[in-house]
Symmetry: C2
Subunit: 145 residues, 2 copies
DNA sequence: CATAATTAGTTGACAACCAAATTATTACAA
DNA sequence: TTGTAATAATTTGGTTGTCAACTAATTATG
């Protein structure tokens, strides 16, 4: 295995990830969805997990706390979520979907799944297994203890 | 194949790409390299291809023109490259490494290859083939004509 | 030859990323 | 109990990505 290739692999990974995100964002815009892809990921995660703190949410979404703080700020402006105090730890904030946020997620989930499909056309069941296994391996290789 | 999974795959792709970049950037910092990962990619590409226009360079690096313009601006501030006029087309600009830039690339190349390796530990030759094939397929699925 | 369409590069606005520093609160230890 | 360390969230600064709009130069067309 030539070392030169590693740079190349990094590039492929980077570009593909950007393309997938870009395509999703374009689909959002076409459907006049007033969210960014990352905002959607956060909303979806909150839909699937109630009463997360920001730290927990950040971990689940794979984002930094500062990044998450800003994304949350933006979604709050759109009135889809709200911060509420943690009952026993005043450092923490629980996040909850508002009525509008709940409705938003339920309305959009099928649509979003639909145009997420395109990226994965012409891939077999085995491909998905390879994909998941290899990317997880890479991720773990770089895990900081 | 459940549609729900597609969101998950997108997330894995995104997070892995970010981790790889993040690890590389951390290694740069540890070694007190005064470049970002993207700036390095641009320098390296210019080392391997002389007299590229910004458009050609953007294509080779897989970046937009606006993004590239800004990265180039930053590298120029560090005196590693310079813009020179295109001999026959006054819309274009050729980019060239300066003496310092040339030295920089030659000094750093082995070091950078070294810590790029870590991400790809424990992967087989077949894994690399799958990786390349699958990611290229995804990229092509989303190619805008 | 004049006008329209295309191309290369830049800029502005906004979102997201990371690192480092800051604040407030809680947990732990001398 | 007091002080120190750890934790949750935020803020700040710098870089990158995307989109849209713009300028200047070149090519195509009528």
């Amino acid at each position: 295995m030539l070392k030169e290739n590693f740079n190349h692999y990094s590039l492929i990974l980077d570009q593909t990830a950007r393309r997938v995100k870009q395509y999703a964002q374009a689909s959002f815009s076409l459907n006049e969805i007033d969210l960014t892809v990352d905002q959607w990921a956060v909303l979806k995660t909150l839909y699937e997990n109630t009463d997360l703190t920001q730290k927990e949410l950040a971990d689940k979404c794979g984002k930094d706390q500062p990044t998450l703080t800003r994304i949350v700020d933006l979604i709050i402006k759109k009135d889809y979520i709200k911060r509420i105090e943690h009952p026993s730890d005043r450092r923490c904030l629980h996040l909850q979907l508002t009525e509008a946020g709940l409705k938003k997620v339920e309305d959009l989930a099928p649509t979003v799944s639909k145009f997420r499909e395109k990226a994965w056309e012409n891939l077999t069941k085995e491909d998905f297994e390879h994909f998941t296994r290899i990317l997880n391996k890479i991720y773990q290789n770089l895990e900081q203890k």
